[in-house]
């Protein structure tokens, strides 16, 4: 932290980073099919839509007309016209912030740009939804119940196309602008305290730290979290009947049970039961997981952070590996049970059982 330059310089860097959205696409959608060697790439910019070559929209529109999707005409998308002005406005405001050089100004600017960014993504999602759902009833190819909304983030099979949608450099620079502006804010308000922090604090988890560092570390965690999201470190939903447990190698079939680990590098490990994940974690002897998640019995198929869950061991829960163990998000449902654990106590309970079994 102490190597960071002044808030003003940080803010200028944030503005440069924001300006980069005019030079790089914000988002990219890649359509892959057998007949299109190399795939079709669609690049969404703040002010235009481009792609593999200048004929990309014509070629995508030709394909889309078979399934009744509307033609994409950049001229008829108003956002492409007024978004650049929003960016100009933010750049101008940013310059004002540099001049004012006040903590509240840095914070307001970064909150404003974050909000606008989220609104922009939501708007993009609405366009995708509209293109994917608003289908011409006279389309040559109609498939009952089929819609063609490309994913906002991630990959999806749409007929013969495998569609991948991810942020491009423009979005990364936009995210970077938010982070740098936020750092400018931190630098302003917590100047002396932040300077005492070692760079390593950005990475290590905040466990048992001193009280005065706690506030800072929470902020740092937020930034680290943003960074993680920016790098695409995310949990993946478990596909029941298809995914396999990395520990016991059995297929994950019961949506009432299951667990998932995401490492700090973004690797995802899936488990058919909590009683498989705990010994696995013990074997790995690692602590820097980005996510430790469990399936809630009262919310089947959905992963929750284990810290927010409660756990119960009782005969009525036939968990896949025979530990009779289930996770709950709503503690009220199991409140009066004696064998009730939180995550830490569950871990120690299970590991004592494991060590009893192992010798």
């Amino acid at each position: 932290m102490r190597i960071l330059p002044s808030s003003r310089i940080l803010m200028i860097l944030a503005l440069l980073s924001l300006g980069a959205v005019f030079f790089f696409p914000l988002w990219q959608i890649l359509l892959d099919a057998a007949q299109f060697p190399g795939g079709l790439q669609l690049h969404i910019w703040v002010n235009k839509i481009s792609g593999t070559d200048k004929y990309i929209l014509q070629n995508i529109n030709i394909l889309n007309h078979y399934i009744g999707m509307k033609s994409i005409h950049p001229d008829s998308i108003p956002e492409l016209k007024y978004f650049p002005f929003i960016i100009y406005g933010l750049l101008a405001l940013g310059l004002v912030v540099v001049v004012i050089d006040k903590a509240w100004a840095y914070l307001s600017w970064s909150v404003l740009i974050s909000l606008l960014g989220i609104l922009g993504i939501y708007d993009f999602y609405l366009w995708l939804y509209d293109y994917g759902h608003n289908l011409d009833p006279t389309a040559p190819i109609k498939i009952e119940g089929m819609t063609y909304q490309p994913p906002l983030f991630g990959a999806k099979d749409l007929l013969n196309f495998y569609v991948q949608s991810y942020p491009h450099w423009g979005a990364a620079f936009l995210g970077l602008a938010v982070i740098i502006a936020f750092l400018a804010y931190l630098k302003k308000i917590h100047k002396p305290k932040i300077d005492q922090l070692e760079p390593a604090d950005l990475v290590t988890k905040a466990t048992g730290q001193s009280k005065q560092k706690k506030v800072n570390n929470i902020l740092i965690q937020v930034i680290a979290g943003l960074l993680l999201v920016g790098c695409g470190i995310n949990p993946e939903p478990i596909v029941f009947g298809k995914d396999h447990c990395v520990y016991c190698k059995m297929s994950i079939a019961d949506p009432k049970y299951g667990a998932e680990l995401v490492t700090a590098k973004g690797k995802v490990f899936k488990f058919d039961a909590l009683e498989c994940m705990v010994p696995y974690m013990q074997q790995q002897d690692k602590s820097d997981y980005a996510y430790v998640l469990g399936i809630a019995y009262d919310d089947p198929g959905i992963l929750h952070p284990v810290g927010s869950m409660h756990f119960i061991i009782a005969e009525k829960y036939n968990s896949p590996m025979g530990a009779n163990l289930a996770g709950f998000k709503n503690v009220q449902l199991i409140a009066n049970n004696p064998n009730l654990f939180d995550w830490e106590s569950l871990k120690s309970h299970l590991s004592s059982r494991i060590s009893q079994q192992q010798p």
Partner: protein, 659 residues
């Protein structure tokens, strides 16, 4: 017993001579590419075929000298003029020798030139589109076999007449050959930027039959070497009467001298007639021009322009090695092969070491110009190429083999049987200064039992050899279309990166282009009807046309609106006494249809373009002559008949096309 032994000696069974990893060497796995393009002349098909080496897979037939109903070449209004000659529309020819363009004695991958033997012509194929873009007729020659040999910077394409004829043509007895018949050697210049061909000059030579040629390179740059036969000047039963003398004559031409004579005005201009047909890529239209004058050089008026040197009986190839110093004369009927030395020939000229003259042209003493003789290499040597490591490879037609020998020592190093009777052979860059001595392709004249039989007529056979080692190794047989006389092989990376995927529609300057579906329309002008039609997955616009009449000339100008790779659309009209159109993305092509009877005719796209290709069709209603059915058209709408709207659009389209 003797018969049995003979039978077992029949070398049909090549399994005995294909060794080791031959299969692996020619196997190109799915999704991977061949290392080389091979361009083979199509012989009597008049076309050129494109193959991959080492796999021997055929990629394309490029229509050149023959109409090609498969894509409408020579049938569409745009491409018909490509076939104009001083004899009228000639829809076929016999293509013989491929020459790729060169810079500094190496292939540059820009153009391909090929000759039409029957009605003398030279064509240029653009290697970015693999389409014939230019054909130039050569006047006052007959049988342009000896063509189109290129100089090392593509300055000229050199050709010589196969049959000498009266010049100018006139009504004379054939037996007055010696008195009236002459042979022309022609120099066609190539524009270094566009490749456009122009007949620069012709040299009037004694009436021999000129057969094959090569140009000098390196030290011998500026000279051409053309073999001839029939120095006996026979005009009947040539197989006997033109084979009487022990030696024929090779013409040696100093074309730099020719340029001097031209500059000095030592030429005569003769009035004649020949056609130059040039394709314009932006409009897709071939423009045909009749030319009427040619510059003739007479060796008597321009001393030091031409020499002769004797070559053993009935030579075929005259092949210059990569250093430019040695020249191989292949006498088809001779037992030995003569190798000449360029520097010795130059010395003999300087010392006037001549052995008489023919029609005033000095004949260099055979011995004075000779580097040496390859003793008894085989029977019927035809053509030689080089591997760049000092070795030459010669095909032997009669003994059916390829022989490898050392140019410097004239020593025979290896021989390999070929099935059967090879004509030319080719090595990648084998005629250039820098051959790639990896493969050799022998193009065989006789096929017989090489493949599953297909009745009396069959494809020709080519055989691929690995020549990277000391001994030649046979790798592969593959069938070739019609009769490839010669081929050239070029590294794929010289051509592949330049290959176009489609034509940008904004560059389309065709006067009848339809830019946009809403602008499709039908216009009548007397009994001519112009249909401005667009093709796009998966419909033609308009697809309903009414008001056509028997006796109309209906021009379908079909513009393919696609801008994607491999998305051609076809257009075929029931009963049209014509071919189909195959229209590439961004291109406009025109089909002329003259409906003969009252009927509703169906038309459709012939190239399976999408899952709804079968639906890409339409109807044209033809009424009786004089009927009052109005001209109407449309696509999924009430038929339109607003001529005014159509004209307004046409003006707009022209403005856009001009941008």
């Amino acid at each position: 017993m003797a018969i049995l032994m003979l039978a077992s000696c029949s070398n049909r069974d090549t399994r005995q001579i294909v060794h080791g990893d031959a299969a692996e060497q020619v196997y190109v796995p799915p999704g991977e590419y061949d290392e080389f393009y091979a361009f083979l002349s199509g012989g009597y098909s008049g076309q050129v075929t494109v193959y991959g080496i080492p796999s021997g897979r055929m990629f394309k037939e490029i229509p050149v000298f023959s109409q090609y109903p498969e894509n409408g070449y020579g049938y569409s209004e745009e491409t018909k003029p490509m076939f104009n000659t001083s004899y009228g529309f000639v829809p076929w020819d016999d293509s013989h020798h491929i020459e790729l363009s060169q810079q500094n004695g190496e292939f540059d991958g820009r153009w391909l030139f090929v000759n039409g033997n029957n009605t003398p012509r030279i064509a240029r194929v653009d290697l970015t589109t693999f389409e014939t873009v230019e054909i130039l007729e050569i006047p006052d020659v007959a049988g342009l076999h000896c063509a189109p040999f290129i100089t090392e910077n593509s300055e000229y394409l050199v050709s010589g007449t196969r049959f000498s004829v009266p010049i100018p043509q006139k009504d004379v007895p054939i037996e007055s050959f010696k008195e009236n018949f002459k042979g022309l050697i022609n120099y066609v210049s190539v524009d270094p930027e566009h490749g456009h061909m122009e007949l620069a000059f012709q040299i009037e030579m004694p009436g021999f039959n000129y057969d094959l040629a090569r140009n000098g390179k390196g030290p011998s740059h500026g000279w051409s070497f053309l073999t001839s036969y029939n120095s006996e000047q026979a005009h009947t039963l040539l197989e006997v009467n033109a084979s009487q003398m022990d030696k024929d004559l090779m013409a040696i031409i100093n074309w730099k001298k020719a340029e001097e004579c031209l500059a000095a005005g030592k030429f005569t201009e003769r009035t004649t007639s020949y056609y130059h047909n040039l394709h314009d890529e932006a409009s897709g239209i071939v423009k045909s021009t009749e030319l009427t004058t040619t510059k003739i050089l007479d060796p008597k008026e321009c001393p030091d322009l031409v020499y002769f040197i004797p070559v053993p009986k009935s030579p075929h190839g005259a092949d210059v090695d990569p250093t430019g110093e040695y020249l191989v004369g292949n006498g088809k009927l001779s037992a030995d092969m003569s190798v000449y030395s360029f520097s010795k020939m130059m010395k003999a000229i300087e010392e006037k070491n001549f052995d008489g003259e023919f029609d005033g042209i000095p004949i260099i003493s055979y011995e004075a110009g000779l580097h040496g003789i390859v003793q008894k290499p085989g029977l019927g040597p035809l053509h030689t190429e080089f591997d760049g490591r000092g070795n030459a490879y010669t095909t032997f037609f009669i003994s059916s083999e390829v022989v490898k020998w050392n140019v410097e020592t004239k020593e025979i190093l290896d021989r390999h049987p070929v099935y059967y009777s090879p004509g030319h052979l080719t090595i990648p860059g084998g005629e250039t200064r820098k051959p790639n001595g990896k493969y050799l392709l022998a193009m065989n004249k006789i096929t017989k039992d090489r493949f599953l039989p297909t009745g009396p007529e069959m494809m020709h056979s080519a055989q691929l050899f690995d020549i990277s080692g000391d001994k030649m190794k046979m790798l592969l047989d593959f069938p070739t279309k019609s009769e490839p006389h010669y081929a050239q092989i070029i590294a794929a990376d010289m051509v592949m990166p330049n290959s176009k995927k489609f034509y940008p529609i904004e560059e389309n300057t065709h006067p009848h282009v339809t830019l946009g579906e809403g602008n499709s329309r039908v216009e009548r002008d007397g009994d001519e009807v112009h249909v401005y039609m667009t093709a796009m997955r998966s419909h033609l616009a308009p697809d309903n046309i009414e008001g056509l009449k028997v006796g109309d000339k209906v021009f379908f100008h079909v513009t393919n609106m696609e801008q994607d790779w491999d998305m051609p659309h076809g257009f075929a009209m029931q009963g049209a006494r014509n071919a189909e159109l195959l229209v590439m993305p961004g291109q406009t092509r025109t089909l002329l249809w003259e409906p003969q009877k009252v009927s509703v005719f169906a038309f459709y796209c012939t190239d399976f373009c999408s899952a709804l290709h079968q639906e890409m069709s339409g109807y044209a209603r033809v009424s009786a002559q004089g009927s009052d059915v109005p001209l109407k058209w449309g696509l999924n709408e009430e038929l339109r008949e607003s001529q005014q709207a159509a004209n307004a659009f046409y003006d707009q389209a022209k403005t856009n096309a001009g941008k």
